[in-house]
């Protein structure tokens, strides 16, 4: 019995010819992303925080292999790692992440060349939760200091060199959550300061000399900016239910805005903590995506879909389009040129950023996280397969795949200097995505499985 396969309709010749003539009007593919209006220069555009330099899933790396041999890219190294969804941040030859062992959460630094552990620092008691245990937040690196947030609210500024503590703040104590949350699990609400249902998940955001965190406290203290050198409180803002995504810093019409997704809305704060605008949205764990020069894409699971907002120069936002075809869950979309690529549940889709037009849909990858660099889409599926394809609105043509990890892989990968880093609840792996020299094997020396 021959397995049934879908038939793909053949292009209609006449209309195809007409379309070719009209193609320039529809916009040529742009594989190199436009520069973001951000303060980072290229030298610092590493993957030093959650989802990269601009929190957009984009790495500036170039010269990546366009296809892979059968065995996949070379394994730079692979090592054991504990539970957690914390992603990876890379700076100055070090990789920072957090995980949990049997009792506690741990901030850890590895050597990106060897995979050897350099130091570790406790980050608070272990957090256990239905979908998976361990820390959620990703460390943010700022030169000599790495900032990390444990699931139970311990915010740590540690020396990137040796892990020694520069300062620390317990968010649960400093900004207690005293009101019941919408997503309270079945059972009695515990008295006193509460823990977010899924733990503190947002990654700290650097804004000039400030470190901005979402506290989930109410009464004007849902967001807090701390002095990044001392941890002293500089400002607090908003009265919103805690969210599980991370704030993003963008610049629109010359004005910098901190975009965040607390509760069921999109909010924008100035670097001084002033509310610039807010707009109703849906509960989500995915990231807002900046679409220069002045648009923001937000997406949420279930029936919420995607919403493209345009920030008005005079203030406020305008809805540009909505689509039921892009429902990010724990995975966020990326923008490559004029197109958005992201997961709609288990279907990878390409939408035109201008108007939300669906360009293509690709099933067979399961759920996954997508990032991009050098015109390539890099997908880490929820079961640990890494797949690459040229980013194109014409379709998804995979040019390489590798079963890099197994089990539940919901953490976005990171890419820096040609090396892709990915983790699950057991392992951390580094894959060399640069073209191989002749005769190189896929399995590097010193892998520690």
């Amino acid at each position: 019995m021959t397995p049934f396969r879908y038939n793909i309709p053949a292009p209609l010749t006449v209309l195809g010819l007409a379309a070719l003539l009209l193609a320039p009007c529809l916009g040529a593919e742009e594989t190199v992303p436009q520069p973001h209006s951000m303060t980072l220069d290229k030298a610092s555009a590493s993957w030093h925080q959650f989802r990269g330099a601009w929190r957009s899933g984009y790495a500036t790396d170039t010269g990546l292999a366009r296809s892979w041999p059968a065995e996949g890219p070379k394994v730079h190294w692979k090592r054991p790692l504990g539970e957690g969804f914390s992603s990876l941040s890379i700076a100055d030859g070090r990789l920072f992440t957090s995980f949990s062992d049997a009792d506690q959460e741990i901030l850890v630094a590895f050597d990106t060349t060897s995979g050897e552990e350099i130091w570790r620092r406790p980050l608070g008691p272990k957090f256990e939760e239905f979908f998976g245990n361990g820390p959620r937040s990703t460390p943010t690196v700022d030169g000599s200091i790495v900032y990390a947030l444990g699931s139970r609210g311990r915010l740590l500024a540690a020396s990137a060199e040796d892990g020694s503590i520069v300062w620390q703040v317990d968010l649960q104590q400093a900004f207690p959550i005293t009101q019941p949350q919408t997503l309270t699990p079945v059972g009695a609400t515990p008295p006193g300061p509460q823990l977010p249902v899924y733990g503190y998940a947002g990654s700290p955001l650097l804004v000039d000399d400030l470190l901005v965190v979402e506290t989930g406290a109410r009464n004007g203290r849902s967001f807090a900016a701390l002095d990044k050198q001392t941890g002293d409180r500089r400002w607090t803002a908003l009265d919103t239910e805690i969210g599980y995504s991370s704030p993003v810093l963008v610049e629109i019409d010359g004005r910098r805005q901190i975009i965040a997704l607390p509760g069921k809305e999109v909010v924008a704060l100035s670097p001084e903590g002033e509310l610039l605008w807010r707009h109703d949205w849906a509960w989500t764990t995915s990231q807002p995506l900046f679409v220069p020069p002045n648009r923001l894409l937000v997406s949420a699971e279930n029936d919420a879909g995607a919403l493209m907002l345009q920030v008005r120069p005079q203030g406020g936002v305008q809805e540009i389009w909505r689509s039921g075809r892009l429902k990010n869950a724990w995975n966020s979309s990326v923008r490559v040129g004029d197109y958005i690529y992201g997961f709609d549940n288990a279907t990878l889709r390409c939408l035109r950023a201008a108007d939300g037009q669906l360009m293509w849909a690709q099933r067979g990858l399961g759920k996954g996280n997508v990032i991009h660099a050098d015109g390539l889409l890099i997908v880490l599926t929820d079961k640990g397969k890494v797949v690459i394809a040229e980013a194109s609105e014409q379709g998804f043509e995979a040019s390489g795949e590798m079963q890099a990890l197994s089990g539940r892989c919901w953490t976005p990968p990171a890419l820096a200097e040609g090396i892709l880093y990915a983790r699950n609840h057991e392992h951390l792996i580094a894959l060399d995505l640069r073209p191989r020299a002749a005769g190189e094997s896929s399995d590097a020396e010193g892998s520690r499985r």
Partner: protein
């Protein structure tokens, strides 16, 4: 290059996009959706089908062609049951699954979600599930799901999962939605209005006539969401085609099912589909019936025993989850009534008897462990806090059901001032009055 292509590669050449745009302009109505986009600020839009082509085929014709493609009506009619086994993935973890189906719509689906076993079933008239996930039932015993879930399970229970097999006989309504482009697949779409009120859109491959997708609304974690099921990898089993690979996108759930083994016309135990009774009540199932009762009572410890005839009826409700007894007898020459319920307290895993009589008008709760070694069930109110206070001192009570045969059992009531020393106050001898069965 060793890349193995995924199961589908759906993409739109520019020509298709242009054609879609022209078609959408030409066709009014809800099916000419422009790629799922809405510009209105509110409301969830219909996202399927992508677009509609001008040609239409009658729904009955589409269904007839599908059944032929699946092996033909005659072969399908010869199938009364099936068992499917394989792997099922949700929350990115994979476990074995088993599905049992029997005509007309008996269904049992055993699988795992987030490392916990889940059983979903439909007994032909109602659904039940055993779902420990905190997002759902969150308990360790079978329950009836909320109505929106139950409606979905009833739809899933259609034989082979396909409501179009015997649509007319089963009271389902078919409506052609025309030809459609389902994300790159040229399909014929048929709306199926199920007899229970659910509405599903089915897509059949225009070239092979095989079902490729089912789009429905479904309950998911406290809300109703779009549910999309995709079928592929059809293989022949005893002359019919079955999909050996399914993908389900429901809200934020993604599930993938790969069938390893399909057996048709398999003998399935009848109780596979019925609601599992609480274990302690399974042991008491022989209580159900009408009984002639000889009661032996005495109003005070030093008075003689008084023996009189009585009558009891015991009925089971909620699929055997509760037994309700009404007992009539004479107590010291006066008519007495006792109403009792027998349940299995799942939290404490104990037998719980709630006893109310027309003397005390007090709900007296007796709690006991599982069946004793001698076959008796013993329950007391020592721990329940319902013992009668005699103006100060408390008098505990205990009730013992002695070996429960099909046609005969006894019950003994005792009292105790301390919960340790017991004095018999009444006994009841039950003999079946409704014909009963052979044996004891």
């Amino acid at each position: 290059m060793s890349w193995t292509p995924p199961r589908q590669s759906h993409r739109w050449p520019i020509s298709s996009l242009l054609f879609m745009a022209l078609t959408c302009l030409a066709l009014p109505g809800p099916l000419a959706a422009d790629g799922g986009i809405t510009r209105a600020p509110d409301g969830a839009e219909s996202v399927i089908p992508e677009t509609v082509l001008p040609e239409t085929v009658a729904a009955e014709t589409v269904i007839a062609q599908a059944i032929v493609a699946l092996g033909g009506a005659e072969r399908w009619q010869a199938i009364d049951s099936m068992e499917l086994r394989g792997d099922y993935s949700t929350f990115s973890t994979t476990y074995p699954f088993r599905i049992l189906r029997q005509r007309p719509n008996l269904y049992r689906f055993e699988h795992y979600e987030a490392d916990m076993q889940v059983i979903v079933a439909f007994d032909g008239s109602k659904a039940w599930w055993h779902n420990q996930l905190p997002l759902f039932a969150g308990v360790t015993w079978p329950t009836a799901p909320a109505i929106p879930y139950a409606r979905g399970f009833e739809a899933d229970a259609e034989f082979a999962g396909w409501p179009f097999l015997d649509a007319a006989e089963r009271g389902h309504r078919l409506t052609s939605l025309g030809n459609a482009d389902l994300e790159g697949i040229d399909t014929r779409a048929v709306e199926i209005g199920l007899a229970n009120g659910s509405v599903e859109t089915w897509h059949f491959d225009a070239a092979t006539s095989l079902p490729v997708a089912r789009i429905a609304r479904a309950a998911w974690v406290g809300r109703e969401v779009e549910s999309r099921t995709f079928f592929d990898d059809y293989r022949q089993v005893d002359g019919v085609l079955l999909p050996f690979h399914l993908e389900i996108e429901r809200g934020n759930l993604f599930a993938e099912m790969s069938v390893d083994d399909a057996v048709l016309n398999i003998e399935i135990p009848a109780d596979s589909f019925s609601f599992p009774r609480p274990p302690l009540l399974v042991d008491l199932e022989n209580l159900v019936g009408t009984w002639q009762v000889i009661s032996k009572t005495r109003p005070m410890p030093n008075l003689p025993w008084f023996e009189s005839p009585g009558m009891a009826t015991i009925e089971a409700d909620f699929d055997g989850t509760i037994l309700r007894e009404k007992l009539h007898f004479l107590f010291a020459g006066r008519p007495r009534q006792v109403h009792r319920t027998y349940t299995h307290d799942r939290f404490t895993d104990q037998l719980k008897i709630v006893h109310i009589d027309d003397l005390t008008h007090h709900p007296n709760i007796f709690v006991g462990a599982a069946q004793q070694q001698d076959g008796a069930f013993v329950a007391s109110n020592v721990e329940s806090g319902t013992a009668w206070g005699l103006g100060g001192p408390v008098m505990f009570e205990r009730q013992t059901l002695n070996p429960v045969g099909k046609n005969h059992f006894t019950m003994v009531w005792e009292q105790s001032p301390d919960g340790e020393h017991w004095l018999e106050t009444a006994s009841f001898d039950y003999r079946r009055a409704d014909g009963g069965t052979s044996g004891n």
